[in-house]
Amino acid sequence: MAKDVDPLWSGVSKLFNSKDFSYFTIRCGDREWPAHKAVLCTQSEYSDRVVRAGFKESHENAIELHEDDPNIVQMMLVWLYTGKYGPIWLPDDALPSVGGLNSVELHVPVFEIADKYLLPKLKAIAAARFDYWAHEFWNIKGFAVGIAAVYDLPSDVGAPLRKTVMDVVRLHSSTFLHGTATAAWWFRKTMDETPELGASVAMLMSEKVNELSEQIMKLESRRANR
């Protein structure tokens, strides 16, 4: 990790999941985190409103997050307190469930939660990580799983991730469409189940055909000139 960590930030980082100075509680599923208004409200506008707006949460000094994955919430909180991204910061007992996630698939829910709670920086980091992993590990089954998650997001929200998927598909289109490896098989299965992915791939292929025919025309005209 970084050698010269800002003393203020390292101090704040220590507060994560600490009961010291905690005047707020976040609950999600069966998990509970002692939290700190000073940290949350300066990092996230959503938190700011929760604390101030005058609803139940303001009076009870606690928020219950429904319909969120506690592990992903934990990752978000880690990022808010430390600026660090990734499962590396998860406590040991959380590891099995996260460890079970495919790395590529992990970035998609983080991306989604960052969008929901209006954290554009975290969203950008998650998108970048997804892009890296997708280019690196496109030839495993997990990639197909990740694609499915991406296409579950509304098209406008998930646009940056879909672009990554199409970039990778373009690079390896023949492998995905005609290959015999497991990854190719999983890809084609996902395409069957996800009409939008199929449509996107079809568009991509037709573009490729156009490109090819243009190249052929160019070659032919060059030969004719000769």
Partner: protein
């Protein structure tokens, strides 16, 4: 194989139809109602946010937006509007419906009703703001991240809600065909402000809160800065009613109170209105309302205020400096040039100056008192003439002192009341100058003022006082236009002071010259300084001659000693010594000197010729005087006594004639004239001193009468008796005071001549340099060049140009588009 998807924990995506819009909206709507009824603390922010988030994710954002807007519109138009309209009670209805409304209900009624209305409106607005804040917080996902509003060219939901308040509340009517609530609001505020102006206590914060609302709302949802409701629906009416109020108040004050009170009131009102902007309405209005009050209370009323009976004239007459300061301050607010006040001050100064000038004229022209009338004798008339001259001096002293007092008075007013203002200073300077230059005799009087002070005034004064007197003189001189005329008079007066040794202190004289030098420049004092130089040289000459005589060894007790002043002829205005009607040739008639005198005269001429060859000495015997020792046998109680007599050269010549005669031997007037060759008029005057004046009657006249007539006989008076050893013989009408009319005409003529030369010199100098020039330009330049000396009459310049053309210094350019001249080298 199974896909290891973990959908259970994840938000349901697009493909899952588990978000029903109507149901979700229902949750939100119910919550919004709770918010508006102030029950938000039971609601979960998380739940509401999540629901809105889901709706937006399902791309139902726009529907949500409109649902929220509809909900707000409904809420405002039903709940809120009803509550506000309920506060418009009869006193307010009367107020808002007709113009006479203020008269139909009591102030207390209207105040209570108005405050109630304002309070309810304020409360509604603030509640609306708080609720909309909470709503937008909940809708944050819709509002913020998705930039929903800018995408769809809709106002943000918050702005939309503010607009709804405007449309549903302010633009609604209190009842069908009634008054728009915004209009009610404006009228109520204006009514309360009027109460405030009338000195009633009002709740400023309440009004301020409502103004704050108007400032936060716009004509349209585009929120254009210039279209704030405050600017559109309140401010113009406020300014309009204020203008009407102050127009009336100003007129009433002008009628009912004095100018001082008016100023204080106006100042108070202006301050009050600024305070009101700060405390009650909006600071954005400060400059506008100030302008209105200034227009109504100052700009349009300044003239009336100044001309009031208790106006500026009264204030100056009664030294009301504080009130003058108020008038000044008031006008300074609206006019950096203080036009009206300056105009008034200039007029007052000129009026007062005119009075001073008129007094001087009356004093100087006043008939010599009763003495002249009771005795028709010619002697009396002469004495009267002398007194008249004296009266002129009095008039002159008074005039200068009055003018200085006038100036000082306004200087102190200027300093204390007018904050040493530059514009007024300029106007004051100009008016004082006008006063001085409007007076025909100013040059002469200023010179006389100095003359009198040099001779008597400074006698017992300290150095500082003397300096102050000199400064005063210089001050008046500064304003004087015809400096050349002053120079003529000053030379004349100085000449007499120096030659007749009338000056108290030569040092002070020199101080005066150096002050003039600083003020008027080198060339002005050149000739004056030459006069002092002559005096010094003369002292040396006298001493030198005395030493020369002693060396010759003619030690003789009876020898006559000579003290002489050799004067450069062009420098000294010797005509000053000549009486009226004498001309130059007569004045220098050749006297017959007795031997002892003739000897010393020729002796000095020789001595002088040795020292300065080629110079011609002309003896000004009319200006000389002599010290003689004379012994009268019965002077001291019947015993002999020797007196030191000082008399004119003429007097000496006459007395010397009697040295060789016995006491009973008479000389007739004619004999004396033949023996001395003194001009008749001078002779008569001197004889009058020697034989008529009681204290210096060294001669006896036969017959005894005041007037010297042909055939009169004169004897040595051996009965002369006096206790005084030193006797000075005055000569009748050797007066050197103010000029007589004839003398003045002469001075004027001489002055015009010298001006003529100065103009010609200036014209030639200009033309020599410019070669050719238009007539108008030539006139302008000539005026500029001469301005330090005097202000020439344009007609005179024209005449001089004509004369120069005749003498072929210039010629007209025939075919020039404008009349022009050419220099002929």
């Amino acid at each position: 194989m199974v896909l290891p998807r973990r959908k259970a924990n994840r938000m349901q995506g697009l493909n899952v139809p588990d978000v029903d819009f109507e149901t979700t909206w229902g949750v939100l709507e119910k919550a919004f109602l709770e918010i508006h009824t102030k029950n938000a603390s039971a609601l979960s922010f998380e739940e509401l946010y999540r629901n809105a988030y889901k709706i937006v994710l399902k791309k139902k954002g726009e529907e949500l937006y409109h649902k929220v807007a509809d909900f707000e519109a409904r809420w405002l138009s039903s709940e809120v509007r009803t509550k506000i309209v309920a506060t418009i009670t009869p006193p307010l209805q009367l107020l808002t419906e007709g113009n006479g409304g203020r008269l139909l209900s009591s102030t207390a009624e209207r105040r209570t009703a108005g405050e109630n209305f304002l309070r309810t409106l304020k409360q509604s607005w603030e509640d609306h703001g708080v609720c909309m804040g909470m709503l937008t917080d909940v809708l944050m996902y819709m509002v913020k991240d998705r930039v929903y509003c800018t995408d769809h060219r809709q106002p943000s939901i918050f702005a939309k809600a503010m607009g709804l308040f405007r449309d549903q509340i302010l633009r609604s009517f209190d009842r069908p065909n009634g008054t728009m609530l915004a209009e009610c609001l404006t009228k109520v505020i204006l009514d309360q402000i009027q109460m405030d102006r009338d000195g009633e206590k009002i709740d400023q914060h309440l009004i301020k809160a409502n103004v704050y609302m108007l400032e936060g709302l716009y004509q349209s949802d585009q929120e254009v800065e210039e279209e704030k409701l405050y600017l559109k629906m309140f401010e113009p009416y406020f300014l309009e009613t204020s203008a009407a109020f102050y127009r009336e108040e100003g007129e009433r004050l002008l009628k009912e109170s004095d100018a001082g009170t008016y100023c204080k009131e106006a100042k108070r009102r202006i301050d009050e209105e600024s305070d009101r902007c700060r405390s009650t309405i909006s600071e954005a209005t400060t400059s506008k309302i100030q302008r209105v009050v200034e227009d109504e209370l100052i700009r349009h009323k300044m003239k009336g205020l100044i001309e009031m009976d208790s106006g500026v004239q009264y204030m100056i007459d009664n030294d009301k400096l504080y009130e003058l300061g108020l008038v000044f301050e008031l006008e300074a607010r609206v006019d950096p040039r203080k036009g009206e006040l300056t105009k008034a001050i200039v007029k007052i100064v000129q009026d007062m100056g005119l009075a001073i000038n008129r007094t001087a004229e009356v004093t100087s022209a006043a008939p010599p008192t009763a003495a002249a009338q009771d005795d028709a004798g010619e002697e009396k008339q002469k004495a009267g003439a002398a007194r008249q001259i004296n009266q002129q001096t009095v008039a002159a002293l008074k005039w200068v002192e009055d003018v200085l007092a006038l100036k000082e008075r306004f200087d102190s007013i200027w300093k204390v009341a007018f904050n040493s203002d530059q514009t007024i200073s300029t106007a004051l300077t100009r008016s004082i100058a006008d006063v001085i230059n409007a007076f025909g005799r100013s040059s002469e009087y200023i010179s006389l003022f100095i003359d009198e002070n040099m001779k008597k005034g400074i006698r017992d004064k300290t150095e500082i006082e003397v300096d102050a007197t000199l400064e005063q003189a210089i001050m008046t001189l500064r304003y004087l236009q015809d400096k050349d005329i002053f120079e003529t008079y000053y030379k004349k007066h100085l000449c007499k002071r120096l030659l007749l040794k009338k000056s108290q202190s030569i040092d002070v004289e020199k101080q005066m010259i150096s002050k003039m030098k600083m003020e008027l420049g080198n060339s002005f004092t050149l000739k004056l300084e030459a006069m002092f130089k002559d005096m010094t040289l003369s002292e040396d000459l006298t001493g030198g001659y005395r030493a020369h005589v002693t060396r010759l060894g003619q030690a003789d007790a009876k020898r006559v000693e000579l003290s002489i002043n050799v004067l450069t002829s062009m420098t000294w205005p010797l005509e000053a010594f000549r009486g009226a009607g004498e001309d130059e040739r007569e004045g220098r008639s050749n006297l017959i000197f007795p031997g002892s005198i003739e000897r010393i005269k020729t002796g000095f001429e020789r001595f002088y010729a040795e020292k300065y060859s080629g110079r011609k000495l002309t003896w000004q015997t009319n200006m000389g005087d002599a010290d003689m020792k004379a012994t009268f046998p019965k002077s001291r109680n019947g015993r002999p006594m020797t007196h030191d007599i000082n008399c004119s050269t003429y007097g000496m010549l006459i007395l010397l004639l009697f040295n060789d005669l016995r006491a009973d031997q008479p000389l007739s007037l004619e004999e004396i004239q033949t023996k001395t060759n003194i001009r008749e008029s001078d002779l008569k005057r001197n004889l009058q001193s020697l034989a008529v004046a009681p204290k210096t009657r060294f001669l006896v006249k036969e017959p005894m009468s005041r007037e010297i007539k042909a055939g009169d006989k004169f004897y040595y008076n051996d009965n002369f008796s006096s206790k005084i050893i030193k006797i000075k013989v005055g000569v009748v009408s050797a007066g050197n005071k103010v000029e007589g009319d004839k003398e003045r005409k002469e001075t004027e003529k001489k002055n015009n001549d010298s001006r003529g030369f100065a103009i010609e010199a200036a014209v030639v100098r200009i033309m020599k340099q410019r070669k050719d020039l238009s007539h108008a330009q030539l006139i302008t330049e000539t005026l500029t060049v001469l301005s330090s000396q005097f202000k020439p009459d344009v007609n005179m310049i024209k005449k001089r140009i004509e004369s120069l053309i005749e003498r072929e210094y210039l010629e007209r350019i025939e075919d020039a588009p404008v009349p022009s001249y050419k220099y002929l080298a």
